[in-house]
Every structure is written in C-alpha cells, then in structure tokens.
C-alpha cells in the first residue's frame, strides 16, 4: 500500500476525488442543489464549499435544465463544471440539455469546442425511499452518442473514476450507487493519471475470477453479483464477475473473453431489463461468442414496471436468489 492509500467509504472517496480535482485545476467548479452548506443530501460534497468558497461550490437554483444549461455555458468559457443531480429521478428536466446540447456540441462544432461537463447522479435503489429516489436511468443516456456513461462499484474506482471523469474532454454521466455510499475500502489516490486510471472510464474489470459462468454487471449490482458468486461457490459453481464500470463505451472485448472461457453469461443490473444495458450486452455476447455459448445469455434486471413502493423493492431489484436461479438455468441447459 502506498503512502497515499487510506481506508474510506465510497462517499468519502468521491468527496476526496472532488477535493483533489478542485485543488488541481482552478477551472473545476461544482454546481447543484444543496451542495454547499448542507454538503448535498448524501454529504458527498461535505466541507467543500467551506474550503473552496461559494464561487467554486455553487448552490444552484432549483432547476436541473438550468444547472446543465449554465454548466454548458461555463464549459464553453473554459470551466469544468461538475453538476450534482440530487436523485436519479430528477435528472429528466435536464434531459434536453444533456441529449440535444451537451452530447452534440463537440460534434456540431466539428471538434472545435469541448464541453467537459460531469454529471454526478446518486442512483439506484434499495434504500427504502419514496418514488423517483431509486431509479437507474443509465440506458436512457447510453443510447445517445456523445455521452460517456459510467458507474463505479468500489471506493477505489469511485475516486479514480471521478478524477478521470473531471479530466475527460467529453461529457460524462457518473452514476453513483447510493446504496453503497457507506461501503468502505482502500483508496490509493496516487493512481490518478496512470494508464490503469485512464482505463477506468473505458475498460471492464474482472473483479472475481471463475470458470463456469460469467456475471456481467456494474454499479450497485456488482455487490449483489459478488454475493451471488460466493453463494454459488458454496454450491460448487465457479462464477466469474465482470464489472463493466462503463455502460458507454461497453468493453465487449473483456466480456467476450470471459464468456469464451465460461460459455455462459448472465447480465445483472438494477435498470429495467427491457431495453436496459443488458440488452446490448446480451446482443453482443450472443453475436461475438456465438460458437462458445453453451446456453443463451440471460438477464437479471428490474421488471417492466415503475420502481415499486419501497416495501417490495427487493422483489423488483436483482437479488442473490434471482441471480442464482439464472445461473442454475444456464447450468441445466
């Protein structure tokens, strides 16, 4: 462990990443609702306004389109805005700015202009919240060319990836698995800027090796996938877990390499299955590993229903049981 390694929660890792980004570049600024004195509803920006001033950690008016639209203007003036959307379900008022402007200005200008805006979105479910506070809308952004869509699953990646997202010349949607904010892990801050770090917005990672089945997952669902892999191991099945980290671009090479070895693949995510990121993974794996697959690619995601009331959210989300059921189905094919 290097001298720059510390044990911290994922929330703190993002906070630290933002702090270092603010320190490292005077053009970086944070914008969002309640991110100043309050430190954000999840305290991810805790202490930053105090240390960097309200000019660099800005409490915005309550208007997401306004936040993104002014962030684009700031980016055009040479700033690097990092916008916080308070909850996944509240990103949609900004959808037009993200989809028709942020994603396209670089292209519209034939590469003359860059809009390096980062959009942080606490997302996903499992925290017992009311409507709109538990969603996984990443597919609704990944389909749009011009955007990068990523989701860390560990404190280390949370740190590395927020630094790389801020450094990226492209707009990045950074989905934070809010249910995992309190998970602790070692974070080596010296990694930023290395090749490994730069790869974090593009390359999937095998986070648990295995030989019978490949679970492809990202964000909050990595946790439940690892638990399922462990449970499967107890029953004698060796499960490999691939953490995509990015939904756009999708690192199909890493996934395909794994599936070619295991011959079986389940995609797991909290987003609804229908037209969710798993559809693209399944389509590609089915195509690229056509001759290696021993069974069809299965998907374990949320159902085609609005995120349900919290008392039954665990029936809606992928669970260890549902993953194991899919693994069993593959093995008995």
């Amino acid at each position: 462990m290097s001298g720059e390694t510390q044990r911290m929660t994922m929330g703190k890792a993002i906070n630290t990443g933002l702090r270092h980004a603010l320190e490292g570049d005077p053009k970086v600024l944070l914008m969002g609702e309640d991110i100043g004195a309050l430190g954000g509803v999840f305290r991810v920006t805790d202490g930053l306004q105090k240390d960097f001033g309200d000019d660099r950690v800005v409490d915005s008016p309550l208007a997401e389109s306004g936040i993104l639209g002014t962030a684009i203007g700031l980016a055009l003036r040479g700033y690097r805005p990092v916008c916080e959307i308070q909850f996944d379900g509240f990103i949609f008022p900004a959808y037009d700015q993200i989809t028709t402007q942020l994603a396209k200005i670089h292209n519209r200008s034939k590469g003359r202009l860059q809009v390096p805006v980062v959009i942080r979105v606490p997302s996903g479910g499992g925290i017992g919240a009311v409507e709109h506070h538990s969603e996984s809308p990443e597919a609704l952004f990944a389909h749009t060319p011009g955007l990068r869509v990523v989701a860390p699953s560990t404190p280390q990646d949370a740190y590395t990836m927020i630094r790389e997202a801020v450094a990226s010349p492209d707009p990045v949607l950074y989905f934070e698995p809010k249910a995992r904010y309190w998970d602790k892990g070692d974070v080596d801050t010296s990694v930023f800027g290395t090749d490994a770090s730069r790869a974090s917005l593009d390359a999937a990672q095998v986070v648990r090796p295995g030989s019978d089945v490949t679970l492809v997952t990202y964000g909050a669902a990595v946790h439940v996938s690892l638990k399922a892999a462990e449970a499967a191991a107890a029953e004698g099945t060796s499960v490999e877990v691939v953490d995509l980290r990015a939904v756009s671009p999708l690192d199909t090479a890493t996934v395909a390499a794994s599936v070619r070895r295991t011959g079986r693949c389940v995609v797991v995510h909290e987003a609804a299955t229908f037209l969710g990121p798993g559809a693209e993974v399944a389509a590609r794996v089915s195509e690229e590993c056509f001759y290696s697959l021993e069974a069809p690619v299965l998907r374990v995601g949320a159902f085609h229903a609005p995120y349900p009331v919290s008392k039954i959210e665990h029936d809606y989300l992928p669970s260890v049981d549902r993953i194991l059921e899919a693994v069993d189905r593959l093995l008995s094919h």
């Binding site: 609702e33 309550l62 509240f90 008022p93 919240a129 009331v309």
Partner: protein, 390 residues
C-alpha cells in the same frame, strides 16, 4: 414608464423578509385584527367568519399539527421511511384550503397536509406513501385533491391543463356558485425556478385558465434560502406573464383565506389566473432526513416560533373572548384521537404482495408485463415448491 425602469429600481425590493405592511394581513402577529392599506379590501372576505368559524380554523390547524407530530414520531420509530412536515405553514394551508369550494380541484406538492385536511382526506392515507406501501394513497376524485407530486413543479402544468379542461366543460363564469370551478397548484419558493412552473404561467395566462398558483414561500428549499431562487419577491413572478400577483402573510389564517377567496373568485368568474405568494416559514426540517442546523441559525428558527400561526389565532380568539376551555379540551381530545388513529392505522399497514408491482403499469394488457408477471409467479412458486420439497 415601466420600460425605462432602471435596473436598480428592479432590484431594490429584495426577496428577503417583507414587513407586515408589505403583505396582505388581517391578523397581526399578536392576534389583533388589522386591515391597513392594501389589506383593507380583503377584510370583507372574512367578515362572515363568526367565532364558530374561527374556532373551526383553529381546530383544523391543531389537528394538522398533531398529524405532523405523530407522523414525525412514527418516522423516528422506524414506522415511516420519511416524512415532510408542514409545521409552521398551517395557516397558509388551512386558510387557503377552507376558501375552496367542493368542486374546486387541488394539485398539491408533497407538503400540503393542511390542505388535504380541508379536502376531507383521512390524513392517515397520506402516510401510505411515506410508509412505502403506496405511491399515492387516496382517491383523488373523492376529494378533488390530486396525489402528491414529487418532481418539483411538474404539477403546476397539470393544474393548468386541468383548468383548461374546466374551461372546456363550460364551468367558468356561469354565475352558478355550485358549478363555477377553480383549480389550484400548490408549490414552494424553490419550485418557482423550474421551467415547468414558468411554462404553466405562460399557458395559464394565454388561455386565461381558471387556476391559482399558490406559492408557499417558506423561505427555504431544503438548505437554500429564497435569495438563491429570486432577487425580487416571488409574488411579482406573474408580472411579466400578465398574471396578477399578491403577497399574503402566510402565518395569518384569515388573510390566507381572504386572498385565496379573491383569487378563486377571479378564476371561477373568468378573470383568469392569479399568483399568490404566502410568506411563511418552514419551522421544521425539510424532511425527517434533513438537518437544518447545517444551514440556518437557531435564532432565526426562534424568531419564527414567535410568529407561530396557531398561537396567533389563539391569541385572537382569547382577545375576542371566543376562547372556551371546554371546547379547547375537546379539540385536544380530538387531536389525541387522531394521533391514536394514525398510530394504529400506520402500524397495521402491510407491504403489498410483490406481484402488485405488475398490476397497474398499464390500463390495458401489455405483453412485456404479462410475460414478466408470469415469470415472476412461476419463480415465486418455485420457492414454495422447493421449500415444500425440503
């Protein structure tokens, strides 16, 4: 001439705390009747409220506050996931709510428990949502009270569209007080920044829809003071859209009633939309998840406790000799009964069956849902089977 107004003049009137004289006020903070200046024309709108009626408003506010207290306690006990109090806003809500006619229709945000009470809701139903067993919780059509809408500002457009429907139904300006209908959108100070609220003003103004925009400026949008949203008082927002605006003391139940009464009358008679700013204070936290000590001072909170809307009416009743101890005890007992009801009701609320998530995704059968429901049933049955097998 307006068009040459220098910038300075525009900014002069800041969005910070107005004086009593800068708001419509019919009850002073110490409980005396008043009707100075611009408030004078509003006095006639509460002239018919006799002691019984005033005691009714008091009772409403006490019950609503008890609801807040009980729900907060239930949240602390883990029975609710979250709860947003309306603490401090009872006068704005009860006053405006009691001005509504049965046929009027309300689109609340998520903090309008006081209005809900005036619409005859069993307040316990509001807690289904915060218990995590229902996304809504009540029969909107039975109360002409729409579900709480959590995406800030979006319901301002629903209210406007609904009011456009009322127009098409021919229920504006008929002169029949039982038929002429108004629609109200309730929202907060922070909400005024959303595009949707401003688009609602565009649509309401151009269609002259019978809608009232009732903005409770409780001075905070979670941790952000109103100055983060506007540099002029919010009651002026309608100006540039051609919608008249009025600022009322939202801690004055009579003024809130009177101002709403006027706005509703304008809407129902075909006079079009009104923008009301009820200046009040969120005495509690934003929700039970919030920690206001991070962003505002105890002194500020204390100063507003001195303007408590319930105390104000109590003082008034006392000074009028309309305070009756027996009645007051009855109200307290009623509040206790409400508390008991809420506790029992909430604790008995069970999680719905998991399969219910498929039930109302569509009103017509949808293949994806049908298939997933079937898969889920089989999957659940598999567990039962395997449990039996063991």
């Amino acid at each position: 001439m307006d068009q040459q107004t220098p910038a300075a003049e525009h900014v002069a009137e800041s969005s910070a705390h107005p004086t009593d004289a800068q708001m419509i006020q019919l009850l002073t903070p110490s409980g005396e009747r008043t009707a100075e200046g611009g408030s004078a024309p509003y006095a006639k709108r509460v002239a018919h409220l006799d002691h019984d009626a005033l005691r009714g408003l008091y009772e409403d506010m006490v019950l609503v506050r008890r609801f807040d207290d009980e729900a907060t306690a239930l949240q602390r006990q883990g029975e609710l996931g979250l709860f947003p109090q309306c603490l401090g806003q009872e006068a704005a809500q009860v006053g405006s709510g009691r001005a509504l006619a049965a046929q009027d229709y309300v689109f609340p945000s998520y903090r309008e428990h006081g209005v809900a009470h005036t619409r005859g809701l069993d307040l316990a139903q509001i807690l289904l949502q915060f218990r995590g067993v229902d996304h809504g919780g009540w029969d909107t059509e039975a109360h002409n009270f729409h579900l709480y809408t959590l995406v800030i500002g979006s319901h301002a457009l629903h209210a406007t569209g609904y009011a456009m429907g009322v127009q098409r139904d021919g229920l504006v300006g008929t002169g029949d007080p039982d038929r002429d209908t108004a629609v109200v959108a309730y929202f907060g100070d922070g909400s005024t920044s959303q595009g949707d609220v401003n688009e609602a003003l565009v649509f309401a103004a151009t269609t002259n829809a019978p809608v009232v925009f009732f903005c409770q400026n409780n001075q905070w949008a979670i941790s952000e003071p109103t100055t983060k949203q506007s540099r002029v008082p919010l009651y002026r927002r309608g100006d540039g859209f051609g919608i008249p605006g009025v600022r009322v003391d939202g801690n004055d139940v009579l003024a809130s009633y009177a101002v709403m009464d006027e706005a509703l009358e304008r809407a129902r008679s075909g006079g079009g939309p009104t923008f009301v700013e009820a200046f009040t204070y969120r005495m509690g936290a934003h929700t039970t998840s919030d920690d206001p000590t991070r962003y505002r001072s105890r002194a500020e909170e204390q100063s507003w406790r001195e303007r408590d809307p319930i105390d104000r009416l109590r003082k008034h009743l006392e000074s009028e000799g309309a305070w009756d101890q027996g009645w007051a005890e009855q109200v307290a007992a009623e509040a206790d009964a409400l508390g008991e009801h809420l506790r029992t009701y909430v604790r008995a609320l069970e999680a719905p069956p998991a399969s219910s998530m498929f039930d109302t995704v569509y009103a017509s059968e949808h293949g994806t849902v049908t298939a997933e429901r079937a898969w889920h049933a089989e999957y659940e049955a598999g567990f039962e089977t395997s449990e039996v097998a063991r």
